[in-house]
């Protein structure tokens, strides 16, 4: 995918004639950032400083000098100038496969590695950063805090007067209204401002639409994870408002539900539609083709990391989706090998859509583990069929990887795992031995040696029994 970036970006860039035009009045207004000195003493700014220290101390930040240089360069170009003493721009990375980013009130912007893995070019990265930069420059978080506090006072007064005598959840209702009204309006405004910031920095404004569309290829996040993500920062792009509302209406039900969100994120769809209109209304703007055409991101490592993170976090369907989108543009041994791993991890789950289990009434507190869910799905209608299909797809993918690069160790380990899971120990052992001849990492070798130790014991036992 990354290799096609220049041509994609060229197509975008060609839609903008290189003539100097001014931004529409609306956009100009949006970029007039008044100082808000009251914010210096806000809880949001205090919390931001504390989080920055804690994120650093706990090793939450992901470090990569090459990527950091790109982020810094793009941020420097796209963030607005502000006069607030407490805003100091810096961009950090967090290793997480979901396509998100968020900002804190004092100018910190955190980009997930999963977002970097999905962005197709520098202009889209600029769009994402511009969006968060506007949240910061317009003091959204701080204003939300003050606005929320005022509403809390009214809500608190109501609650104390009525004392929930009719059992109605005023608190929950007021909280939901506070957050959701803020969220929807502000996100639309911020999208428009990001377009203006992009244009001012010489990036094609249409990149903002592409960035939003890429974020729609969301991870299989549970609502619980979405809620946590939202609560941490409040500034995430991509939280589905309807899901958030349902979460607040009935947290117990929503939190126990696993939902796949592929292309169903209504708020992102609506926002992309609105942006399309905004960009369409812009006059022809100056775009520096050098910026967008010549520097595809050096993101290969992040893409591989994101795919592996999804598999590790038991979200193989999302990993597969990402792999397939990459393979279409740039087939190689890693991607085919990862495709095999994703199919293997899917087991009895369908590779598309939601897995369903046979209904069986049982009283349960809390979710099953992934292993238990796998066992239950295997007993469900279609489970065995999906397992067979996934195993076959995995085997095909590993062989495709070997054809592309016979010295890529991971393919042999994957094929070994596939046979091992089926208790087919001889082919498993042969593939593991091939893997060991290619792999030098001691830790990784240890896991395979343990499996070979087991295989040896099993085969010796079989031999004794045969004799």
């Amino acid at each position: 995918m990354v290799n096609l970036i220049p041509s994609l970006v060229s197509a975008i860039a060609l839609t903008f004639v290189l003539s100097i035009g001014s931004l529409p009045a609306l956009a100009d207004d949006l970029l007039l950032y008044e100082p808000f000195e009251k914010g210096a003493k806000s809880r949001s700014v205090k919390l931001a400083a504390e989080l920055e220290e804690q994120f650093y101390r706990r090793g939450v930040r992901f470090q990569d000098a090459e990527l950091q240089a790109i982020l810094d360069r793009v941020a420097q170009r796209v963030v607005p100038t502000v006069s607030d003493s407490y805003i100091n721009w810096r961009v950090y990375m967090i290793r997480h496969p979901s396509p998100r980013l968020f900002s804190l009130a004092d100018g910190q912007i955190y980009v997930h590695t999963g977002l970097l893995a999905r962005l197709e070019n520098e202009a889209q990265l600029a769009a994402a950063i511009a969006h968060e930069a506007h949240h910061v420059a317009a003091h959204h978080r701080i204003k939300e805090e003050i606005d929320g506090r005022n509403k809390d006072l009214i809500k608190g007064g109501l609650t104390m007067l009525i004392s929930n005598s009719d059992g109605f959840d005023y608190e929950g209702m007021a909280q939901g209204l506070t957050d959701l009204s803020f969220f929807a309006e502000v996100e639309f405004e911020t999208d428009a401002a990001a377009v203006a910031l992009l244009a001012r920095a010489g990036y094609p404004p249409a990149a903002a639409i592409d960035a939003l569309n890429n974020m729609r290829s969301d991870s299989k996040m549970t609502l619980a994870q979405r809620k946590d993500a939202f609560d941490t920062s409040g500034g995430f792009i991509g939280v589905d408002d309807r899901e958030l509302a349902s979460l607040r209406e009935n947290p117990a039900a929503a939190l126990s539900e696993n939902s796949e969100a592929y292309d169903t994120n209504a708020s992102l769809v609506e926002r992309a539609g609105r942006l399309q209109r905004t960009v369409g209304e812009l006059p022809n703007l100056a775009v520096d083709p050098g910026i967008v055409e010549s520097r595809p991101l050096q993101l290969r490592r992040v893409i591989e990391m994101t795919i592996d993170d999804y598999i590790r976090l038991n979200e193989p369907a999302t990993a597969l989706r990402l792999v397939d989108s990459m393979i279409a543009d740039q087939p190689d041994a890693f991607l085919f090998s990862a495709k095999g791993d994703a199919h293997l991890a899917l087991g009895p789950r369908p590779s598309i859509g939601n897995a369903t289990r046979d209904f069986k009434f049982e009283f349960k507190l809390g979710p099953d583990t992934y292993k238990e869910e796998t066992a239950a799905l295997l007993q469900s209608e279609g489970g065995a069929e999906w397992l067979a299909r996934n195993l076959q797809s995995a085997e095909e993918a590993y062989h495709a990887a070997m054809e592309l690069d016979a010295s890529f160790a991971r393919s042999y380990r994957g094929l070994g795992n596939l046979h091992f899971e089926q208790e087919d120990y001889r082919p498993a052992g042969r593939n593991y031995i091939k893997y060991l001849k290619l792999e030098t990492d001691k830790m990784e070798r240890t896991f395979v040696i343990e499996r070979l130790q087991f295989i040896k014991a099993e085969l010796s036992k079989q031999k004794e029994e045969d004799q």
């Binding site: 090793g59 992934y370 031995i433 031999k463």
Partner: protein, 287 residues
């Protein structure tokens, strides 16, 4: 009978927590201490000698009159105290403890990646454990798979301890209103649990937890101010409570084959790579 009464008590406490809307803060242990371990941990087969003690993942919330505020900076000091007392408790039982500090983590990119991966994987299991399924630890229900094993291997230890600390306290104003009857009573307390994940299995082999200063009624919960002021005392107390049932290190037992029928549990004495590969290719070709 006592066991039955204990279950009733646990259920009553659970109900009180749920009704007071604090279920998110309720850990696996309702009150007092709780501990569960696999048979192999109990009999010493999979009991570690060296343990890496990770910094606790903490949530600390102040329950105000109208809103809840998450605290960040205040957690670090309590985590440090908790780590110190957990280390002391484990050391007293004969374990060799390597307590990981924030500086060490922040200064080692590989370590922070492995640690975050293992923590994230453990948290997936933890959501099930805290849904009051702590008993299933003894059935080896929970695993961090290779993520936990990689971290343990990198640190060169037999097991990794994953502590989780949850603190909920009222604000001073809220507490005052609760006392004078201007507000409903609010729950509060300190919950702490840690799992021990063995390097050889990646499974949660043991789980220990404790509750301190828990309250769900009677003039409100404890204030966060008090928790911070007496943090040292509370952390010492909760570390002691949680490790009450933790057995001493067992120097005599070696890792041996445990169970031939359960593949995940077939463990052998460590042998060299050469020993494993010797004659293996011949065996593979015989089929």
């Amino acid at each position: 009978m006592i066991d039955f009464m204990w279950k009733i008590s646990k259920f009553a406490a659970l109900a009180a927590l749920l009704l007071s809307g604090q279920s998110a803060f309720a850990g696996a242990c309702i009150w007092g201490e709780c501990s569960e371990m696999t048979n192999e941990f109990r009999d010493g087969t999979l009991r570690p000698k060296t343990i890496a003690l990770l910094p606790a993942r903490t949530s600390m919330t102040e329950d105000g009159v109208f809103e809840k505020n998450n605290k960040v900076a205040e957690t670090a000091e309590l985590e440090d105290k908790l780590g110190k007392y957990l280390e002391a408790q484990m050391t007293d039982r004969g374990y060799e403890v390597r307590r990981l500090g924030f500086d060490e983590i922040a200064g080692d990119q590989k370590l922070s990646e492995l640690l975050n991966a293992a923590n994230d994987r453990y948290d997936e299991e933890y959501t099930t454990i805290v849904a009051f399924k702590v008993n299933d630890v003894k059935n080896r229900r929970y695993t961090t798979e290779e993520a936990g094993r990689r971290l343990a291997s990198y640190l060169g230890v037999d097991a990794v301890a994953f502590p989780r600390l949850q603190i909920l306290g009222s604000s001073s104003t809220s507490k005052f209103l609760q006392v004078v009857g201007g507000s409903d009573d609010k729950a509060g307390g300190i919950w702490m649990e840690f799992a021990l994940v063995h390097a050889r299995t990646g499974d949660v082999e043991a789980f220990f937890g404790g509750v301190s200063k828990s309250s769900s009624s009677s003039f409100g919960g404890i204030t966060l101010k008090k928790i911070n002021k007496k943090g040292d005392k509370y952390m010492k107390s909760i570390a002691k409570t949680a490790t009450k049932e933790m057995p001493k290190v067992d120097e005599t037992v070696k890792l041996v084959k445990v169970d031939e029928d359960a593949r995940e549990l077939v463990l052998h004495d460590e042998v060299s790579e050469e020993d494993v590969l010797e004659d293996l290719e011949g065996l593979l070709d015989e089929g």
